[in-house]
Symmetry: C2
Subunit: 349 residues, 2 copies
């Protein structure tokens, strides 16, 4: 149903059109579609999709501004954290390897709320610093999950679909539509795959470098990416902590992102069910009466669209009221319609 929808015209039935042949309507449809208002939320996505096909190689050359900002925030946070905890390194007790590496490792274990406890603050100052860093770190991780991570996954998504369909003879338009319809599913699949890879790589690393047995390694991996971090198993060698710095950050963010996508997919499915119900239930005369806003006994296309979208919960009474306020201000001659002369009058006064 969603697939067919994308091919269909905007308000092809038109408002006052009374006697028009199908061919006339079809001709008009092309025009109307190209002239319709841009959908604010979709604009950036559509631009990305269309553009990324010819130049997938340059993905990391022109990154989204919010992604860049997040990367800068993260770099600053980690830099400041590592510096501060390096300065108070004598007030942190536990298994130590290298001064600045331990400080960075401690910052990451704190910000991701893994909190193994293999390094713990041992003075009031260090404890209060840890409190400050865990709250700000949580907020930063939240920002990354809600903005930057989704952007990166979306960038990769199209590559995946392209690769999956390489051997099939499907045009890029079909790929785009396929991606648009199942966006969340693809993103979920991508993030789930990445998480599996991170779990496997982490387990292998812990077995080979930290000399844990396989179950202990897997347990440490799960305990880390979920941010549980009992701390009975953690990264105690220098090599382990260098690996951990990258792996913990990626792993915890990936799992959080996975949960976000599951929630999104869930919402989408319920929303689609509601839309389907609204569109397939029988239209009664009572509906017609309620949708007939101008009380002329018939329901125009635009009236019908507003009625149904409201029933789907996509728009609210307040949304409509706000726009109607502007409409009334612009409709200087109170004719119930806007014309060029209305606009000229309204904006000159």
């Amino acid at each position: 149903m969603a697939n067919n929808g994308a091919k269909d015209p905007l308000l092809s039935g038109s408002l006052d059109a009374t006697q028009k042949t199908k061919q006339q309507l079809l001709n008009k449809r092309r025009l109307l579609r190209s002239r319709s208002a841009p959908h604010a939320e979709l604009v950036p996505t559509e631009t990305n999709c269309n553009e990324s096909i010819p130049r997938t190689a340059s993905i990391f050359q022109n990154l989204h501004p919010s992604f860049k900002r997040m990367a800068i925030y993260l770099a600053v946070y980690l830099g400041v954290g590592a510096l501060i905890f390096y300065l108070v390194r004598n007030q942190i007790k536990g298994q130590k390897t290298d001064g600045i590496l331990d400080a960075l490792y401690f910052t990451i274990v704190t910000m991701t709320t893994v909190g193994y406890g293999d390094l713990v603050p041992n003075s009031h100052l260090a404890k209060l610093l840890a409190c400050a860093f865990v709250f700000s770190g949580m907020a930063l991780i939240g920002l990354i999950v809600s903005k930057a991570a989704d952007y990166l996954v979306e960038k990769q998504e199209l590559l995946l679909v392209k690769a999956m369909r390489m051997h099939q003879k499907i045009g890029s338009t079909e790929i785009l539509r396929e991606v648009e319809t199942n966006k969340t599913r693809y993103k979920l699949f991508l993030v789930f795959s990445l998480l599996l890879i991170l779990i496997i790589v982490g387990t292998i690393f812990l077995v080979t470098v930290e000399k844990l047995d396989v179950i202990d390694a897997f347990y440490c991996v799960c305990s880390t990416i979920t941010t549980l971090g009992y701390g009975d198993q953690s990264f105690s060698t220098q090599a382990g902590r260098i690996f951990a710095v990258f792996w913990i950050l990626t792993g915890t963010i990936t799992l959080a992102q996975l949960f976000v996508y599951i929630a999104e997919l869930n919402t989408e499915i319920r929303q689609k069910e509601l839309v389907k119900w609204v569109l397939t239930r029988k239209v009664t005369n009572l509906d017609l009466e309620a949708a007939d806003l101008d009380e002329d006994g018939t329901v125009g296309a635009a009236e019908f669209v507003i009625y149904k979208l409201k029933e789907m919960g996509k728009i609210s009474q307040e949304d409509i009221s706000l726009v109607m306020q502007e409409f009334e201000q612009l409709d200087v001659d109170d004719s119930g319609t806007l014309s060029t002369s209305d606009i000229t009058l309204a904006q000159s006064s």
Copy 2:
């Protein structure tokens, strides 16, 4: 602006109305408003708001079904967790107090990903069980934060506003509108207050019962509600663990909910800015042309509403196309409008 909007009529300008006096329009407004389609998402909220004023005392008597379901899930999860970890209690090492209490405490420390490490699994079986419980626990906490917690906060919200305005002579309609407009702000304020209370209560408890000094107690509280849980300070007494069972669960969920509300408020503010921009920018002749879907040279109220809502990103081309498909199916005589005879014909065939 939002306040005024709520008073305004639905499509009061009406579609084809050409010569109507203001009084006629005003009379119609009352009618149209009451007959408009229900807004699916808002229905439960509106019902709650209207109903909870006369019977605030019965808030916990008729709870929302999804809240009840979450409470049952949580009870089952905690019951099963406590039972299983009680059965494998000999495979868990660390500071112990009472068999079943420790098992419940361990379940909660695991599901919230606090993971102090004061109790750790000590066999392969116990470790794998902990892995299973931390993943399912995270999912459950996510469900609670996304569904049940918000519901409880919303229930309390109106009580707060009522209490705050008790001494002012404002009718319940004004209170309702005030709440509706600043919903997220009130919820944020409520959850933030609750979090402060939980932090203070937790700190006092740790000082008096677990005999920690104030900074250590505060540090343990922060380390717990953020789910950091280094484990150098935790609940080691029987009384402490009974308190912890309730406090950890409430504290971690409250902080997570606070972050959710901050994100929501952020989105709302940006959305409102976009709406304001769309409504205040000058309407040009190009806009009129693009909004004029039936190409009759003028823009009707419904056309204008659809054009603006699309520009705000509230509805997409696909939303409109889907409804238009149904419209075309119902419009049997291709007149561009729906009448009772269309419906009869379309549904009998």
